[in-house]
Amino acid sequence: MLGFLYARQTGLDDPVRLRRAESTRRVLSLELNHNRDVDRIHGNGINTLDIEVIDGRYMLSGGSDGVIVIYDLENNSKKPQYTCKAICTVGRSSRHVHKFSVETVQWYPHDTGMFVSSSFDKTMKVWDAETLKPADEFQFDGNVYCHHMSPIARKHSLVAVGTKDPKVQLCDLKSGSRIHILQGHRGEILSVRWSPRYEHILATASTDSRVRIWDVRRASGSLFTLDQHNGDKSKASSEAVNTAHNGRVNGLCFTADGLHLLTTGTDDRMRLWNSGTGENTLVNYGKVVNESRKGLKFTVSRGCSPEFVFVPCGSSVAVYGLHSGELITMLRGHYNNVDCCEFHPDYQELYSGGKDCNILAWVPVLRQPDVDDEETNTKRGGTQAAINPAFADAWSSDED
């Protein structure tokens, strides 16, 4: 660590290098911390978590009972023992609460005045965070599985919505209407994701085992479909040609730079794709247990090298190396299935929520004091004591 600091100070190393090395070290030492806790408000499982992008201070959670809670993650008390308090909730007593389970929540990417939630009661509501009343509401024909707003969009304010209908709907926040439909899938849309690199690129995953990449500016269909065999038609059985997975595709996540896309499917596999060409990079993560009938929400670390993927697997969260595919560790702590996890990039913390109504915070372990320093201290003290006072120089100083 001192070597890194010295190299940065003298300019031998790029400033990013120290930051990346320390971030990676912190992610590798994630652990349940008995000092950090999150308020337990939900009475039923937690389906989705989202941490706002601007400050990383507020976290939204949506539960199976339709309740939405906002937490303050920052520790302003001077004590290490801290419970992330729930600042406000849209509880069951509110007039505007969702009738059924909330599947996805997302903060408005540009400020925390607004957030959007979608639920199995076939609606998507745009909430004002001050008054906790919906500013707008979109009705759909089927259960809404997921929605996503582009985190970098400046030219448009579209929300992509995936429902039971095979058509992907695009809703415009500025006008309040559903302006666009993307046709091409043949099954329910379980996950949608905008690219963090290009504001017009959208990826959608569906129960027909296909993942499609769209450019919303184009009038015609999708740009391409992800093929797990990279066009090698001989490997698949004839029905499985041109599919991303051998089962339903229920999770999508872009890496932070937008160059790669991760998909998970009910065939217990996770695949890493080059998002520009749609090529399967063939990184083998092994069996990633996936039994979710709805979308699976997983996340990728940011600012580390090598990057890590955090995937909920049963009742624990599995951490894989992104490009190597090896299983680094399993984070165990939940009592029941884990449904969602979210990575806090500034503090390298992971928040995970599941059916046991708990949100657990995984915090990096603090660095232990170096054992070497203590040893050298005792050694120095030892040699000083060993010098016979008769031979000790009275006229020269010991320390330079």
């Binding site: 090395a21 070290r25 001989s234 004839s238 051998n246 063939l282 247990v289 039994e291 595919g325 372990v365």
Partner: protein, 255 residues
């Protein structure tokens, strides 16, 4: 705790890793030979006498995952061996992810041994010549067979009859190992029996050394070690390191 310390030490030993990387590059050159020697080791576990020597030694690709930790590099080296024409890969049919590996020379020798004296010998030889040096496909469709390989319909029928091709769909065929039907049957039965042994143990877990020493029941025709590599590589059991060795724990949710 020691595992955690090892994780942290890795990132900050970047300098040490750089020096070690030179020795590691030596290893990656040998990576392919490393995989080849693992495949040869696994082939020694295959019981030839069971099939009266009609079948070449068959190894499954996921058995290699139990010997090497990095699955991606195993996949890459297997593909390299296939490109070189040393190894052939087959889709077995009972699992979309289970691939069988056979050395090309063994395959050719066995096929010719089977076909010797039959009328289909010529067709089989022609097919093998087209297949072994160049083509690394798992399945063939009609266009390819007729136009690229210049086979006639009757020749394709002969190949299916002698077991070199298996029907996949109307107009397309999987590459297959002749007489592999019995192999697949015994394999699936043996795998189920070994998994039941693990499941019936106390707490559904058993020491790996203990499992390998158990007597094989009538259902299990292959060697125990062959099946143990299979269930570990296919993630049907979880491997846990303990002070007494590796423990295999049955994973729920298998179909």
């Amino acid at each position: 705790m020691s595992r955690k310390r090892a994780l942290i030490a890795d990132t900050f030993c970047l300098k040490r890793r750089r020096c070690a990387a030179d020795s590691l590059t030596g290893e990656t050159h040998d990576g392919a030979t490393d995989i080849r020697s693992s495949i040869q080791y696994l082939m020694t576990l295959f019981s030839r006498k069971l099939f009266n020597d009609t079948l070449p030694p068959v190894v499954l690709k996921h058995q290699l995952y139990s010997l090497h930790t990095d699955k991606t590099s195993v996949d890459k080296h297997v593909n390299d061996l296939r490109e070189n024409g040393e190894l052939l890969m087959f889709q077995l049919g009972f699992d979309s992810e289970a691939f069988a590996l056979v050395f090309a020379e063994d395959y050719r020798a066995k096929v010719l041994q089977e076909e010797a004296g039959r009328k289909t010998l010529g067709t089989a030889e022609k097919f093998l010549d087209k297949l072994i040096p160049g083509c690394s496909d798992l399945s063939f469709n009609k266009d390819k067979m007729l136009k690229e390989f210049l086979f006639s319909d009757s020749e394709i029928t002969q190949l299916v009859k002698s077991g070199l091709l298996t029907v996949r769909d109307a107009g397309s065929w999987w590459l297959s190992i002749p007489n592999s039907g019995r192999f697949i049957k015994y394999f699936i039965k043996g795998r189920k029996a070994v998994l039941n042994m693990v499941k019936k143990s106390k707490y559904s877990e058993i020491l790996r050394t203990e499992l390998e020493e158990r007597r094989t029941t009538a259902q299990v025709k292959f060697q125990m070690k062959y099946h143990v590599h299979d269930i570990i590589g296919a993630d049907l059991v979880e491997c846990i390191q303990t002070t007494s060795g590796t423990v295999l724990r049955y994973v729920d949710g298998n179909n």
